[in-house]
């Protein structure tokens, strides 16, 4: 009876689910091919490594955003939070002074803890204030950004000790067995993220919360804790992203991290996570972050597009990439 109908239906779903998971990677490949056609320099190892390395910050932050979004939330404050964490970390390093691994370690601890604390603030206001996360994190976005500007007194916060800088540099510029450290970092973060989201009960609870809050509550999921923790994880990810951001240029400015929130959310959505919650794709998110960086790279490498129109082409590519993904998913 419905047997046939049911079977085709289910297998179709199966297929389309797989497509949904695969399609960001396909989009990545298509873009890479397009890049290679536009400029042969695109495929040089150094260019590819540059691009992937650069995507590390957004990728790591977006892994955190995958938790928040698949749990049904949203965090617009990550860009400002990144700037604040970077600023405070540098100030701490400057204040500690002595170049040495222990100074660095302490600075890093401060960065990650501050990230976690900022995330906790977001999480607590969202859960206990019961305000739309959009508004809460828009508010904290303004707060964090202002605090950086204030700390920098309008200028730039720079690592003063050049010895310490040299010591720290390899965390961005170094490599292990030829693989740049930031790439290793984001792979590790994504792997841990995937592990937490897919293999722990906390991760299961996040998805349950994003699917249907009532069901989660009636099933005894500690929804307040879970929701707050997603924001804390987001904050920790921001902290980790900053650990590899600071050694790059050694400074934080009032523009550090500007619009990173939009990039992170875009990476998450391109990666196949649903904005309405209940579905998270950590690896897709990483692919999404690389796609964004790739599009920007192709824009600079190509010679067709006036610098005025780069944004337009970038916008169009992202829309087209999503259109293609969708049609792949529906196609068969």
């Amino acid at each position: 009876m419905t047997e046939t109908a049911l079977r085709t239906d289910a297998s179709r779903r199966k297929f389309s689910l797989d497509m949904r998971a695969l399609s960001p990677f396909l989009a990545l490949i298509v873009l890479a091919i397009a890049g290679a056609l536009i400029n042969p320099d695109f495929l040089t190892a150094s260019n590819i490594l540059n691009v992937v390395t650069r995507s590390a910050f957004i990728a790591i932050i977006a892994v955190g955003a995958t938790f928040v979004i698949s749990g049904g939330g949203l965090d617009l404050s990550v860009g400002s939070m990144a700037a604040l964490v970077a600023g405070v970390m540098i100030l701490t390093l400057n204040w500690l002074g002595a170049p040495g691994v222990s100074t660095l370690a302490l600075g890093m601890l401060v960065a990650v803890s501050l990230g976690a604390a900022c995330g906790l603030a977001n999480g607590l206001i969202v859960t206990f204030g019961r305000i739309e996360p959009f508004i809460v994190t828009l508010g904290t976005m303004g707060i964090f950004r202002s605090l950086v500007i204030w700390l920098a007194a309008g200028g730039t916060i720079t690592m003063r000790n050049s010895e310490l800088r040299e010591l720290y540099r390899p965390v961005y510029f170094g490599d292990i067995a030829g693989v740049p450290v930031p790439i290793i970092a984001f792979v590790v973060v994504a792997a841990i993220g995937a592990l937490i989201l897919y293999k722990t009960s906390f991760g299961r609870h996040v998805i349950a919360l994003g699917s249907n809050e009532d069901v989660a509550r009636y099933s005894g999921v500690p929804i307040w804790r879970v929701r707050t923790l997603t924001y804390v994880i987001q904050g920790i990810c921001v902290g980790i992203a900053i650990l590899i951001y600071v050694p790059r240029l050694g400074s934080a400015t009032p523009t550090t991290g500007l619009l990173w929130e939009l990039q992170a959310i875009t990476a998450v959505v391109i990666g196949g996570t649903a904005l309405r919650g209940g579905l998270g794709r950590v690896w897709g998110t990483v692919a999404g972050a690389i796609i964004l960086e790739l599009v920007a790279n192709i824009m600079v490498l190509s010679n067709f597009v006036s610098e005025f129109l780069v944004g337009a082409v970038q916008g169009a590519i992202i829309i087209i990439a999503m259109l293609v993904q969708r049609s792949l998913q529906r196609g068969r």
């Binding site: 695109f42 040089t44 920098a152 007194a153 309008g154 730039t156 009032p254 550090t256 610098e307």
Partner: protein, 292 residues
């Protein structure tokens, strides 16, 4: 007898290094002036874009200010709103970016953006003679447009060729990214016009990483203290800079206060020209205590 005077200062918000410097100097000067002249009140307000600055001007005049020091976000947009303030009899000092109608201002402390581009261009012609140059643009604004057009004009007829230009938003990270891509794309880049010191820092980091020795130098702009220091120290990569001191806001505030508290009325134009900073004169441009 004690005069009571209020000066309103309207400037762009600290969205990047240079504007950050402007805000810093404005606040410091406000404190210094209030101390120096009892009875003087200085109100500093920042705005993130042209429309908000127009709003802030409304709000400042609602507080009955005697003088306005304004660094307009944008000449075209702010001409009218400043004129509205003027119409209430407020004394007007314009800083950096001139208004469309110069008759509105009582004092003009001019930064000169076309000159900024020209000076930089001339430096490339004189020192590079020929070769390939890449340009970093700032945020799409009139300032940026004026600088880049005049830079390119200055190169005309020389052997120096612009092979690429992209926006990097006066932002270090964006400049780093764009420079990495330039380096992938162009096998030979002789010099870089970063047009801003924040961007120059990002650019140099990318060059260092790529270990490319074809790039002979990077010219930034605006006289950030770290960069000026390097010029002073004879750093090969940063042999020069073009000044564009955010402290021009202080000058403007001082002369405006002088209008009320010194005996001679102040009028006219004070040009703070874009100057080439080299090893020889770097000392005069080095302010280690400035945040910028």
């Amino acid at each position: 007898q004690q005069k009571s005077v209020t000066i309103g200062v309207s400037i762009p918000a600290a969205t990047h290094g240079w504007t950050g410097g402007v805000v810093y100097h404005a606040q410091e000067t406000a404190k210094a002036l209030e101390k120096a002249y009892p009875g003087l009140k200085v109100v500093v307000k920042t705005s993130p874009d042209g429309a908000s600055q127009a709003n802030a001007l409304d709000d400042l005049s609602a507080q009955k200010i005697d003088a306005l020091v304004v660094l307009p976000f944008n000449s075209d947009e702010l001409t009218n709103p400043v004129n509205e303030v003027k119409k209430r009899g407020t004394f007007i000092t314009v800083v950096d970016r001139g208004l469309k109608d110069p008759s509105i201002q009582d004092i003009y402390v001019a930064g000169n953006n076309p000159e900024f581009g020209r000076v930089a261009g001339k430096y490339f012609v004189d020192n590079l003679k020929q070769g390939n140059v890449v340009i970093f643009r700032g945020i799409p604004t009139v300032i940026d447009e004026e600088r880049v057009t005049n830079f390119e004009k200055a190169l005309q007829g020389s052997g120096v060729k612009v092979i690429d230009k992209q926006y990097a938003n006066w932002n270090r990270d964006d400049a780093f990214r764009v420079m990495q891509d330039y380096l992938s794309k162009h096998p030979k880049i002789d010099a870089v016009w970063a047009s801003d010191d924040d961007m120059a820092l990002g650019v140099m980091e990318a060059i260092r990483q790529a270990k490319r020795d074809d790039v002979k130098f990077v010219l930034g702009g605006a006289g950030m203290k770290d960069i000026v220091k390097r010029v002073m120290d004879g750093d090969k990569m940063t042999p020069a800079n073009v000044s564009y001191p955010p402290a021009m806001i202080s000058t403007a505030m001082y002369v405006t206060a002088g209008q009320f508290f010194a005996n001679a009325p102040m009028r006219g134009t004070y040009v703070i020209n874009a100057e080439l900073i080299t090893k020889d004169n770097a000392k005069n441009h080095y302010f280690p205590n400035s945040p910028f």
